[in-house]
Amino acid sequence: MSASNTNGSRAGAALTGMASRIDPATVGPAAALALMFIVYSVLSPHFLTVQNITNVLVQSAPLMILASGQTFALLMGGLDLSQGSIVSLVSVVTAGVMMHFGLPLGAAAGLGAGIGIGLVNGLLVGRARIQPFIVTLGMLYITAGAAMVVSDGSSIFGLPRPDVDYFFWFGGGFIGPVPVPTLIAVILIAAAHLVLTQTRIGRHVFAIGSNEQVAVMSGIDVGRVKIFIFLVSGGFAAVGGFMLSGRVISGQPLLGAGDILLQSIGAVIIGGTSIFGGQGGVLRTVIGVLVIAFMVNGLNLLAISTFAQQIIVGAIIILSVWVNTLQRRRT
């Protein structure tokens, strides 16, 4: 029976969050993470310091949030390629509106815009039944274009005081010793985890990702669930974008144009959520994000040249997942 639980925890644990012992899928990335910690700590006296760990947690908070949203899309067997563009759009809309109407309205408008894009994604996937890849690829361009049009292509600086200070608070402030962005990330992750493991719609997400036909035959309103999924993915991206903008107290039309989309998807998959859907969860994603965040941080501390860094990053990504494939070498 003891063995039976391990067997069970594979599919069951992620789905119910009732993992008695650790989720096998996370062994690889967790090991990679541990290894990094050891190596970096040995090589750099600056790595294992409260200050540095705090930094990394703050730095990675936006990615944590994006990736948690992305997890929903992957769990249903889809993708959300528009997250990066949403970050950019939210950034310029928030700053633009804030410039004249203050933070509250700015935030409302910015987050609203991001969620709006998510809704459009959801409707196109859930109702028009177009595949997520195409929909979000299209919205990637549309949203990026919108961000450019809104900001007329230039960054928005010089936000009014005192609003700008509150704005920064969301991106880099502290409550006592606790960094605000990290706090927000933790709350959203907890919520996402709860929804996925403890609610009906969460279960439906897994069902659709596992086998959409079966989900349909079981009377699940697949369209509705898909809309929900892209609302979450877009909404989380919006919050992440808001945070990033707060950190740099400005609206930047290219804020999400960089690596962040690839990192968001990468983190989910490194964490062990299946691209084909049905298996995984946000807790796995958290580990994936930590791998990415500490990986780069350590390399920066060691002043590894940028080019060499890329090579190492790639290697770590592959290795962290390879460990898993080694485990299941049976039957």
């Binding site: 930094n55 960054s155 290219l254 144009a257």
Partner: protein, 295 residues
Amino acid sequence: TQAQADAKEVAVMLPAAGDPYFKLKSCGYIEEGKKAGYDVKIYDAGGYGNLDKQVSQIQDVIQRKVSAIVLVPASSDGTVPVVEKAIDSGIPVINDGIATHSEKVSGFVGEPSYVMTELLAAYLADKLGGSGEIVMLSGPGGLDLTRFRVDGFKDYLAKYPGMKVVADKFTSTSSADALNTMQDFLQAHPGVKAVYTFNGPIAIGVVQALRAAGKKPGDVLVVTTDMEVETERLIEDGWIQATVVSQPVTMAQLAVRRAIEAAEGKSIPKETLTQASVITQSTVNAVDLSGQECQ
């Protein structure tokens, strides 16, 4: 007739119109065109990485038979064939800021990128009395522009054994990336005295990192290039010590003017260099920024 490139159109090809630097310039292009009664269309390759896209765009405007092209090449050499194709088909091409490596190019209007960052290095050497740890956020890796600026800066510093570049990294021009990287650098090199940044957005990220680390303005010297609204503010507040500017808008206007002259068959100078000057807190209000914004 929107589609018809009636004879009076200048196509301005930018590698990354989203960059504040180019935003700044774009009004210069357009206004100058208006003056001469020319229609100016701006094309954006959407990033320095999209050389291929820029080449395609140039081919497309050759199709449109525009009167002249102002080109900020995504790559000095990558654009050679298509530029020569344009010129052979009778469309003059003026380089703005970055040169295309071809004798055929009709003209070059520019800032001496190499010299500009030399000036910054000189400024720091002077400020730090020739010694101190320096970190560099060098901007997007793999670009000619980046290369010129980094070389200018490093070559000059080489004269001062006491001034060490203890860490440098190529990052995107996103403030967020710069912020993360600078935080990491501060961890590893608490004693860092000065920071070189590729441009405004990166400088802003750096300043945010310094703020987050509880530094006061001036604790760490920050130098950058170009002059944007925010850069100016940060210089006044003492967060950024110096920036080096040529006259982006003036350049833009010159480039378009030369382009039009060439299009109308006038002979134009092969090279028109603009003035590069360092701006600091003391000079920020004094210096002539006429080349910085549109009237």
